[in-house]
């Protein structure tokens, strides 16, 4: 089945079995193994990528449903010789150990900050509407919004440290 995807800003053509998930398309067909498979059932977040600006579990969606969609993977956020500040913060704060959940954590965090900025409430939010000042984003908000990404190495404290640093800086930069 032919599908056109815009992956990390590049047009990519895929011709694959319609059963191929977006995750397996990236990993097995398009040479982008950054997104990881931890469960294939939407239970762990390791496969998180950003589709048209929103984070999705790429194991839960078929590639052929995304004709024309813009997909950002970890490789599009930054490569080893040109890391994004968020990736650098993960390195600095040791926001990982084995590294397997990490691309999913970073993609998720990137989209999560946009969601918070856009005023999407979370389970722990006090207010139901209104943009959130990222410089005030609390640890509890970060933790709740990142709870779809399991880290069995349990770098959670460090992941929160890394995201908080970027969230608080981000607001400073745009203010």
């Amino acid at each position: 089945m032919k599908t056109k995807l815009i992956i990390n800003g590049q047009d990519r053509a895929l011709d694959a079995d319609p059963r191929v998930t977006l995750l397996d398309a990236l990993r097995n067909h398009l040479g982008l193994p950054g997104a990881k498979k931890g469960c294939d059932h939407g239970q762990c977040g390791a496969c998180t990528v950003i589709v048209n600006g929103r984070r999705v579990n790429s194991c839960l969606t078929l590639a052929c449903m995304h004709d024309g969609d813009a997909v950002t993977t970890i490789e599009g956020i930054g490569m080893a010789d040109d890391l994004d500040p968020l990736q650098q913060a993960f390195v600095r704060h040791d926001g990982y150990q084995c590294g397997y959940c990490t691309p999913g954590q970073i993609c998720s965090a990137r989209a999560m900050l946009d969601e918070a900025e856009a005023g999407w409430p979370s389970f722990v939010s006090e207010e139901m509407d209104g943009a959130i000042d990222l410089s005030q984003l609390s640890d509890e908000e970060i933790s709740e919004r990142m709870s779809g990404n399991i880290c069995r190495c349990s770098a959670y404290s460090n992941i929160v440290d890394a995201i908080r640093e970027i969230a608080h800086e981000k607001q400073g930069a745009s203010a």
């Binding site: 079995d17 059963r19 191929v20 397996d24 990993r27 097995n28 040479g31 193994p33 950054g34 997104a35 990881k36 498979k37 931890g38 469960c39 294939d40 059932h41 239970q43 762990c44 390791a46 993977t73 970890i74 490789e75 956020i77 930054g78 490569m79 080893a80 890391l83 990736q87 650098q88 993960f90 390195v91 040791d94 990982y96 150990q97 084995c98 590294g99 397997y100 959940c101 990490t102 691309p103 970073i106 722990v124 640890d139 509890e140 970060i142 933790s143 709740e144 990142m146 709870s147 990404n149 399991i150 880290c151 069995r152 190495c153 349990s154 770098a155 959670y156 404290s157 460090n158 929160v160």
Partner: protein, 729 residues
């Protein structure tokens, strides 16, 4: 040449402290970090070799019996199917850690979920379809044992201690405790599902796998498929978490190798998440009885710890629940016994901190019960019971920072604010309490080898088949070599995870850092001597720093000094010292919890771990190991629970939606304090293990805090809300 050091006597020279580079112990970022955060570190599944076929394992749906027939025609019409494999060489279960030979093999079925066949196809989708549709004829036996308690317990004589008279001590005690707890099974649930890509080249097997202890894994798979180990190469440069689950060669590797041989092309077999639960090691459930007899001041006169665990027939592994109980606390009268039940369930084996993870948990719950009974502060009770000598072997301890950890932790956590009387602090609908526990874990040094090459251009390479499973091996071996050779860490490259390199101890039992680190140290010491020779100076007068060799008032760039590479292999072995002293790591856990008075839900608010693990090689990765372990303690205390159906032994919660591991919001910001320590009796780099200590006792600190908050003791883990609310007044 190989330089060998045997640990027959202490090494208190603290050479790493004398060295001048100043990189050892620092919180250096992981050298492989850039690859991990950009998704370009290569895990087993990610090689995409040309012509790779994909295999999916098929499980048995009877708990006991045999595979009688595979109906290959049932999948013949699926486009892309290449073959269906079942074989007498298939593994019943993974090899135990360090087994060094194949585990039980064959097509007999001993547990529900056992992998019995492999469907291979051109694509993953076709293989998955085939694995769902394949028709197997399974002849079922009706002799399965599904309730561990229904099989006769086999005593484990090596674990048994019968010293003094515990019954008399209990009868005479001013304060005594006799309690029984149960803990459920656990799964490591590493985020990377096990995966093997097998490829044959000229009769040699190349296995890209997700494994922790390669030198053993090579022999295990060679034995399983019947070839010379010299014909096997295993590559595991990146491993997406292990926690014991990747210690021994596992069914997917053997199945992939057999299929790859038959098809003459690479075969990739990844476990599904459900198969990770069913086909790799579970931590055994346990029943544990602890008896404590104490005088009026809380000093123990007697200690009893009995435990009942389970495993499959023919497996010798019995969760070593009593491992820390043997040496941690005094008490002249002692009765320790471990029993193993045989059961048709997933194989039991090592899951992070086998033994102490659940043994320390219950011992520390019992100590909390004794403290409450005797009206003695729990921290004080522990300190009063630190023995002078090993209470069973009468040998001394190596460096032991237990009291410092307990006192430091109490001070830093604000332990004095804990109300001694339970259920007295309430904030709205939350009941708040504090708890603590001692942490302890045995420490071992294992044979390990590494090659260090100081290149003529003044850079260095460290090579060993050691693995980094997230533990920080890339970092610490780089730092040891950089410190010893006086090089900025960017000038040292560490290459791991390849059986073509010198065989290391592997990542297991918390021994990886101290053992593989010592082998690098031994090699570097020899290189230093050779540099000293060239400068005509004594090794202890040589200073190496920033690529300069300094002797007296002469400073020479290494690159000028060397006309060729210096290459040395270092080997460390445990020696006579290990029998003469008890080596272990110690610490203290402190937790504050809030328990909802309406629902019984527990939230951990704060957690502090204080640890003494010898020299800290990298403060950042060491801390990460500890917070990881502490989080596992939360999981064990509150969530994790493998649930087996007692009618056929099948695991009912075999995915991450049903088996609950802690997620981000479950975990508060954690604090870790390291006690400065050098343990020259444990390794020549004065370091000890750190990967498992963080769990040992952690769950008890949380459940002891629940008791302090509510007055409820949950003696059947995990402490879920239903169990707490049922007991709340």
């Amino acid at each position: 040449m190989t330089e060998t050091r045997t640990m027959d006597r202490p090494d208190r020279r603290n050479i790493l402290d004398e060295a001048a580079q100043g990189v050892i112990g620092t919180p250096m970022d992981r050298p492989e970090g850039k690859l991990k955060v950009s998704g370009t570190a290569t895990y087993a599944h990610e090689y995409n070799l040309p012509g790779t076929a994909f295999g999916v394992l098929v499980r048995a749906t009877v708990p006991s019996g045999r595979l009688a027939h595979v109906n290959e025609t049932s999948v013949a019409d699926i486009e892309g199917i290449l073959g269906v494999y079942s074989d007498e060489r298939f593994l019943r279960n993974p090899a135990q850690g360090g087994a060094n030979e194949a585990p039980v093999q064959g097509t007999d079925i001993d547990y529900f979920g056992q992998a019995v066949a492999l469907v291979v196809a051109e694509t993953f989708e076709a293989a998955r379809d085939g694995a769902t549709r394949i028709q197997l004829r399974l002849d079922a036996d009706d002799d399965g044992v599904f309730d561990p308690a229904s099989s006769p317990p086999e005593a484990q004589p090596d674990e048994a201690v019968d010293q003094g008279d515990l019954s008399a001590a209990m009868a005479d005690a001013a304060h005594s405790i006799d309690v029984t707890y149960t803990t459920p099974g656990h799964n490591s649930a590493a985020m990377e599902p096990h995966c093997s890509v097998a490829e044959w080249q000229d009769g040699n097997l190349i296995l890209r796998g997700s494994y922790q202890m390669l030198k053993y894994n090579r022999n295990e798979i060679a034995d399983a498929i019947g070839i010379d180990p010299a014909k096997v190469r295993i590559l595991s440069p990146y491993v997406g978490g292990g926690f014991g689950s990747k210690l021994g060669i596992a069914p997917e590797a053997v199945a992939a190798a057999i299929a790859a041989k038959a098809l003459n092309r690479p075969v990739c077999v990844a476990l599904t998440r459900q198969q990770v639960f069913e086909n790799v090691m579970r931590r055994s459930e346990s029943k544990q009885r602890v008896r404590l007899a104490a005088d009026k001041d809380g000093k123990l006169s007697g200690l009893g710890h009995e435990a009942w665990v389970s495993n499959l027939p023919e497996e010798s592994f019995a969760e070593p629940v009593l491992q820390a109980t043997h040496f941690l606390y005094g008490g002249d009268s002692r009765k320790l016994d471990l029993y193993l039940h045989r059961v048709n369930r997933i194989c039991a084996g090592s899951v992070r901190a086998p033994g102490e993870a659940i043994g320390m948990q219950i011992l520390e719950n019992a100590m909390d019960e004794l403290a409450h009974e005797a009206g003695i502060d729990p921290v004080e009770l522990r300190i009063r019971n630190i023995p002078d000598m090993h209470p069973e072997k009468d040998i001394p301890y190596t460096s032991r920072k237990m009291e410092e950890a307990l006192r430091t932790g109490a001070e830093a956590f604000g332990w004095d604010k804990r109300p001694a009387k339970p259920a007295t602090r309430r904030e709205g609908e939350w009941l708040v309490g504090m708890g603590m526990a001692t942490a302890a874990r045995i420490n071992m040094l294992q044979a390990s080898e590494a090659r260090v090459t100081l290149k003529a251009d003044g850079t260095a390479i460290v090579e060993t088949d050691m693995t980094d499973i997230g533990t920080g091996t890339y970092s610490i071996l780089t730092q040891i070599a950089a410190e010893m050779l006086g090089l900025p860490s960017e000038r040292v490259t560490t290459i791991l995870g390849d059986t073509d390199l010198p065989p290391a101890a592997g990542s297991g039992g918390s021994w990886g850092a101290a053992s593989s680190g010592s082998s690098v140290f031994v090699a570097c010491e020899e290189i230093r001597e050779r540099i000293a020779e060239r400068l005509d100076c004594k090794p202890d007068e040589l200073t190496l720093k920033d690529g300069q060799a300094i002797c007296g008032n002469r400073s020479t760039p290494l690159a000028d000094l060397l006309d060729s590479d210096i290459c040395v292999e270092g080997r460390i072995e445990s020696g006579k010292l290990s029998q003469k002293v008890q080596s272990a790591t110690y610490g203290a856990h402190f937790a504050e919890v809030a328990v909802n008075a309406v629902t019984g839900e527990t939230r951990v608010r704060r957690m502090l771990g204080v640890f003494g693990c010898g020299r800290i090689l990298n403060e950042k990765t060491a801390r990460s190991q500890c917070i990881g372990g502490m989080t596992w303690g939360m999981g064990i205390a509150l969530h994790e629970d493998l649930m087996f159906d007692l009618r056929d032994g099948h695991l009912t919660n075999r995915d991450l939606a049903e088996y609950h591991v802690p997620v981000n919001l479950d975990v508060p910001q954690q604090d870790v304090i390291f006690i400065d320590e050098r343990d020259g009796e444990s390794s020549p780099i004065q370091a000890k293990g750190i990967g498992e200590l963080g769990i040992c006792g952690a769950a008890a600190a949380i459940t002891n805090a629940i008791f302090n908050a509510t007055g409820v003791r949950v003696r059947d883990y995990p402490a879920t809300l239903d169990k707490i609310i049922a007991e709340m007044a």
